[in-house]
């Protein structure tokens, strides 16, 4: 009798635990998997005349992601516009990841080697930009780098340059913006990894005839690799889908894939093509991550 009651109570507790997570599960299902399925379905439909879709199956959108048909003679060739935009997005995201790593590693090292009571202050300073809306921060960057902005006025005033440097509406501007926006996402995981790093290993490395460079390459980097992997993913993935930064700083001619997808849902009035491009972006990111994580987790066997 009492055993049965206990078992019943246990079952009830288990059910309650499941119920507690139900809201989160519902939001995740409805907010992530649902829209994803809609996008997947839309990519196989026909565009309606003004916007939206007609419920007629078509592989046209997927075909047009990769190929284009000449409007005069109907010959089919590789769609270099789409590929160029994809390539530019990948290139800018990889570059952003590399720059944030190069800048973030010394920063994270600096914070991790401060006395414990000062560390939280530095981490706090790193997270301050998150308090401001991304759009406002991006416009602030625009204010700094535009032709009659702060940077150019200062350089002109000091007589270092005679003509304003054209930064706005170039890939460089997009890079500056994305580096600024995503840098904290690189610094924080790197800090967490360096914080766990045993500094006595540096002495062991120097003692065994390693130069500073060799200690960095053979001791520090392999040991903080989990932080590097986490930081790179946190920077690379949102960079690839960046929308606001390339829109504001890159202008209409320096589109990244995010802007191009938006174009299909707006002025382009081609929702299936936009959906197909979105799915392709998702596939590219997933495949890239799989390869990256696998490569990063394989022990180097070069000894």
């Amino acid at each position: 009798m009492s055993i049965a009651t206990e078992a019943g109570r246990e079952r009830q507790t288990a059910r309650n635990g499941w119920l507690l997570s139900a809201p989160a599960l519902f939001i995740l299902t409805a907010g992530a998997i649902g829209p994803l399925l809609i996008v997947l379905v839309y990519s196989f439909l026909t565009p309606a005349e003004y916007s939206g879709v007609e419920w007629v199956f078509s592989g046209e959108a997927w075909f047009r992601v990769f190929w284009k048909t000449d409007i005069f003679d109907g010959t089919v060739s590789l769609n270099d516009t789409h590929l160029a935009i994809f390539w530019r997005s990948v290139k800018l995201s990889v570059t952003t990841t590399l720059i944030t790593f190069a800048v973030g590693l010394p920063t994270a090292w600096f914070i991790a080697t401060r006395p414990p009571d000062q560390r939280s202050l530095w981490l706090f300073l790193i997270t301050i930009p998150f308090w401001t809306n991304l759009l406002i921060r991006t416009f602030a960057i625009l204010e700094v780098i535009r032709n009659d902005g702060i940077l150019n006025s200062m350089l002109l005033g000091m007589g270092i340059i005679t003509e304003p440097i054209q930064l706005v509406f170039t890939d460089t501007a997009v890079l500056i913006g994305m580096t600024y926006v995503y840098l904290p996402l690189m610094v924080l995981p790197l800090f967490a990894a360096i914080d766990r790093f045993d500094m006595r290993l540096l002495e062991a490395g120097y003692d065994l005839y390693a130069s500073r460079w060799a200690v960095l390459r053979r001791v520090i980097l392999p040991i903080i690799r989990p932080g590097i992997v986490a930081g790179s993913i946190l920077v690379f993935v949102p960079s690839l889908g960046a929308y606001v930064t390339p829109r504001v700083l890159g202008g209409g001619n320096n589109m990244m894939i995010g802007n191009f997808i938006e174009l299909q849902f707006g002025q382009g009035r081609n929702w299936p093509l936009g959906s197909a491009l979105s799915m392709l972006l998702l596939i590219v990111v997933t495949v890239a991550l799989l390869f990256y994580v696998r490569a990063a987790n394989t022990d180097r066997r070069d000894v």
Binding site: D198, R200, L201, E203, A204, G205, Y206, D207, L208, Y209, A210, S211, A214, R218, V219, P222, I223, D299, V303
Partner: protein, 352 residues
């Protein structure tokens, strides 16, 4: 026989911090360590022995003085240029590398050819008996095995000097005894100069060719374990190494007398002195015979030995270590009247 010097410290001083918070870790330390010698730096924690070791390794640079290696001034050389390797107290093994890769690290950094690296690593792993663990990561090894890896890693590049910073302090007693003889064997087989830092006086006495005793940044005495034990230069050394009875005395007219008036030694300079006698050199005889009258206070049984605590006239305590008889009872009842005698040449006279 003239011996060749490997490491030499000349008037080395090291001060940490500055102003009122300055801490003098090393104070005018000069030392010569012979080639192929097992040299131990002994002293309580904070005495500067580790700082001196780190100065030799290159992790600290002396505030004053020079460090020579085989006659060459290496004071300004960074650690990765010094043919000196360290076994760290924490072992500091590279956690991402296997045992083999750890041992190979120094050789690779020296740019040795691959075949030579592989051969040396195999030889080192055989030397420390870890062939079976070559492919493991440090986290998969016991403390004693990690210690062996650290030794093999530091010995592999065949340094001129091997520095050992309290390497046995993290091991339990049985393993520590094992590693002590292991270290002696390794030193014998490789012929490399070992500079060993410890605060354990027994470790220092049993393992070393010579011992340097340090306190408060100063090198107090350098000598063989026998010299250090039998002829300590100061009360600190006598007290730190082994157990010692300290008795107040006065030197006058070439003779040192205890407070009881007993003459125990000869000494030219007059003045108050401290007489030091090791407990095993104290003999106990029946009351009434020649000797210093004493009262037995208590006996402490140690197994092979029994420590007999006695009080001399004037309240000074003397401890005698006598071998426990088969019955286990040394036969000295508390309150018994006895006389104590000091074995000839066993009395040390130290300045107060």
């Amino acid at each position: 026989m003239t011996r060749e010097t490997t490491v030499e410290a000349k008037a080395v001083g090291k001060t940490f911090g500055h102003g009122t918070s300055a801490f003098r870790a090393l104070d005018n330390v000069s030392i010569r360590i012979d080639r192929g010698e097992f040299f131990t730096l002994l002293g309580p924690s904070g005495c500067g022995k580790t700082t001196l070791l780190r100065c030799i390794a290159g992790f600290e640079s002396p505030s004053v003085g020079t460090i020579l290696l085989s006659g060459r001034d290496i004071t300004a050389e960074p650690p990765n240029r010094r043919p000196v390797n360290t076994v760290f107290q924490s072992y500091a093994l590279f956690p991402h590398l296997t045992v083999t890769q750890n041992v190979a690290f120094g050789l690779e950094m020296l740019g040795r050819p691959k075949a030579q690296v592989a051969a040396t690593v195999a030889r080192m792993l055989a030397l420390v008996k870890l062939e079976a663990f070559a492919g493991r990561k440090p986290a998969q090894l016991s403390g004693g095995q990690q210690q062996r890896v650290a030794l093999a890693r530091a010995l592999a590049p065949a340094p001129e000097v091997l520095l050992l910073d309290e390497p046995l302090s993290a091991l339990d007693l049985k393993l520590r005894k094992e590693m002590q003889s292991e270290l002696k064997r390794l030193q014998h087989e490789t012929g490399i100069t070992f500079v060993f830092v410890t605060h354990d006086q027994e470790e220092a006495l049993t393992m070393s060719d010579r011992v340097g005793v340090m306190s408060a940044g100063k090198l107090l005495q350098v000598g063989t374990p026998r010299e250090i034990y039998n002829n300590p230069v100061s009360r600190f050394v006598a007290d730190f190494i082994g157990e010692t009875n300290f008795l107040p005395g006065v030197a006058r007219g070439g003779v040192v007398r205890l407070a009881s008036g007993e003459a125990v030694a000869e000494r030219v300079a007059n003045g108050p002195v401290t007489v030091a006698v090791r407990p095993e050199q104290v003999r106990i005889a029946a009351a009434g015979t020649r000797g210093i009258p004493a009262l037995v206070a208590r006996c402490v049984y140690f197994g092979t030995d029994t420590h007999v605590h006695m009080t001399l006239e004037g309240g000074v305590e003397v401890v005698a270590r006598v071998q426990s008889p088969p019955s286990g009872d040394a036969g000295f009842a508390p309150g018994a009247k006895v006389v104590v005698l000091f074995a000839p040449d066993s009395v040390q006279v130290l300045d107060d």
